[in-house]
Subunit: 276 residues, 2 copies
DNA sequence: GCAATTGTCTCATCATATGGGCATGCATCT
DNA sequence: AGATGCATGCCCATATGATGAGACAATTGC
């Protein structure tokens, strides 16, 4: 049993598995393939399993439809994962409730609409409705982004205590540094000042801070306890997003977010102005 | 390898597993939860595992993010499955290649656009772009439907040999009978005759056969070997889909499908008229 | 052509998951 | 309100089931 620390995967915490390391190992295969390592040798090296075991596990996963196998070429994630991902979305009442509102917003704006929630220090994209202007966003359902980098994420940050903003800002900046084509964030004082303003407004802007050429307007969705449970955003290319349109869009996006909030049991009276 | 048509709804028991029954069992938990069985007792009963084991496995899956646990309420599919589902889609070159074409089609028609492939006797929804007319489709990425029930599925059937049509027709009719609010299929002779006509046209219609009030136009996508690899469809409510518009849409949907086909290496010259 | 990688199989070994049992605490029923 | 059912969490002896080395065939690519 690989008790030495030679498994240098992404998992930082070594969990003291209670009695399912076969299952966990199998799941590790999935994540390995998800990360683009599709060849047997690479997988075996990454997980530290001998070829025999690697083959056995991969075969089982293929047989169950969790992986797709192209002989002598490699492994890809399988259709069952697509299906389970879809079901996972259906099981989230938030997604089902938000859909009609997101569609209405997409129809009104003709731009790409996103729904996301916080996961750790990142925003997790739960739903996406592509815009009808013919430009592609590389976001996808299941995608992640640092909170401080996107309008969606910043809307989510509005619900967090201010003393946590800095850490998230730093986190996003780390990623900006590591990825070459990513624009830098605004300087911290300016960033904080803007975010403070967004708290008062009830919506947030992203001015090409995440991706050059893309601007976006976001707003937080609150649950029955007035906690930020999700966020909505509208994104489009700069030519479609002049300053005055963004100013118009702010209240509209907020209205959509509030409508979803109401579906979650939120009552607007409790927050005439000011968060939490 | 989709040669055996004996894949029933679910594999009840198979025992020729080579050596990963722990892993397979764990995956069975996921599918169990996916089917809506979220309580411990139900899961244990369904899979025949004692409570101890059930808990241990569920805990591991929760710890890994594959399941989400609401204490004393039940289990739901977790965020990691959403993420893996998204990655699984990204890894399919078909989805990435088709996206721009689907978006263009959605933009042009203002209606809901679907992309699907064959899986067994069903159509598997790989992508969906909601229409901008404000009506909701209950389809979702990862969804399944009998091939013969939908315009998308019928487009896929155009690539199958005619002697397999009947079996798929019967299969769809079984489901129609079991689900109460599902409209019946057209009688077989008429169904076959229509499908034969669609082969010549290169597109297919669905006249409220799958869902009352929904009409749809589909067309097959072919790969480099001229085999049907996927299908595209446009769906909308009847008021938006009069006969003459459907007739117009046929060549347009086909053109979109052909454009995707070309991205897959398909060459139109090989099929002036007539399939395979 | 050769070399490297992958697929398929067997088998002895022992590590691994098993599942019964029991204690605690939450939730729903009457 | 009280009471029962159910979920959760943990221990541990057992044998079941996964392990991994090895050998060979099939395939790709150079």
């Amino acid at each position: 049993m690989d008790d030495d620390g030679s498994v240098l995967t992404e998992t930082p915490e070594r969990q003291q598995v209670k009695g399912t390391q076969t299952l966990l190992r199998g799941l590790a295969f999935l994540e390995c393939v998800a990360d683009g390592v599709g060849d047997v040798k690479g997988i075996a090296a990454r997980l530290g399993t001998p070829r025999s075991t690697t083959h056995r596990m991969l075969s089982s996963l293929v047989a169950e439809g969790y992986l797709h196998h192209v002989p002598y070429k490699g492994y890809l994630l399988g259709p069952k994962l697509i299906a389970l991902g879809g079901k996972a979305l259906e099981q989230r009442p938030l997604v089902a409730l938000a859909r009609p509102h997101l569609e209405a917003l997409a129809r009104y704006t003709c731009d790409t609409v996103h729904l996301g929630v916080i996961e750790g220090a990142e925003v997790f994209y739960l739903d996406k409705i592509p815009g009808t202007r013919g430009l592609e966003m590389r976001s996808r359902v299941g995608y992640r982004m640092p909170l401080a980098s996107t309008g969606l994420g910043k809307a989510l940050m509005l619900g967090l205590p201010r003393n946590r903003w800095r850490a998230l800002y730093d986190r996003a900046q780390e990623l900006s540094a590591s990825v070459p084509d990513r624009p830098p964030l605004a300087p911290w004082p300016e960033f904080e000042e803007r975010l403070a303003r967004y708290v008062g407004d009830g919506w947030s802007f992203d001015l090409e801070e995440n991706e050059i050429g893309i601007r976006c307007v976001g707003a937080p969705v609150r649950d029955i306890r007035n906690r930020v449970a999700a966020a909505v955003s509208v994104a489009s290319a700069v030519p479609y997003m002049p300053d005055d349109r963004m100013a118009e869009l702010g209240p509209i996006v907020r209205a959509t977010a509030d409508a979803i909030s109401k579906e979650l049991g939120w009552t607007p009276e409790l927050t005439p102005n000011g968060p939490r």
